[in-house]
Amino acid sequence: MKKLATNGIFIALALIFSYLERFIPVEWIIPIPGIKLGLANIVTVVALILIDARSAAVITVLRCILANILFGTPMSMVFAISGAILALSIMTVLKTGYNRIYSVIGISAAGAAAHNIGQIAAAAVVMKSSAVFYYLPLLLVASLITGFITGIIAQTIIHRLEGMELNTNT
């Protein structure tokens, strides 16, 4: 399948996940700024493993921009992109050990944790206060759980899609 078409489909899917996530407001139960399931991260992880790091980055950054234009604020867009860049970086590094040292679940959990560190750091800069780091410990524990769940889902999807040639240009 052409990569451009694949990327388009993945961005659309990621947007749907971002939309669906609005109906699962984790912050109603655990009122912490920045807490969420991270369903759209499933798409990023699948793209990273099955296509390549560049496509995963394009898909994720475009999804952050589009989702926050539709459902967010300029500020939430800054947080999301900061988190996404850190998450993409760490997951790209860990991918080099995919199926040898790390499974999708480990890669996904690392991405979730990195995302939270990135968005808290961005929040500290925007709000000009380090007080927001108060929520980092809880967010990290939460990211372990959510990253684990989204990792299992991503792994299932990857196993099913592996026969398809998503990363070819022909």
């Binding site: 700024p33 199926n99 499974s103 000009k128 980092l136």
Partner: protein, 133 residues
Amino acid sequence: MKNGEKRKLFYLGDFAVFLTILILAAVSFFLVSVKPSGGKLTAVVTLNGSELYRIDLEAVAGRTEFEISGSYQELLVAENGRIRFERANCPDQICVKTGWISRPGQVAVCVPAGVIVKITGDGGGEEIDIFLK
């Protein structure tokens, strides 16, 4: 990978990742829970980094309201020894759901509005009960 080939669900590195996250959580928890020593129980309210109110929570007699008008309208309420966001017209309402905070080091944040309420243990001078900037 071909059918029939066995693949592991977890690898050793995964546990290293999980452990690293837990260690980071523990270390950051330790860092943010270092309590300020002594002094009065004070709530410091900032809007986008600049201080709005410094409220001596031990001196507050009954219910005291503080209004904040930035990009959103918010109502802070202080009682003896505690403070909370009572009302806000921000989109996520996380600040309101955070509820009362009362211990030194505790933080309530309204990210959309850029408002942070932080409780410190060292309230500074005794001559000022409620210091408005």
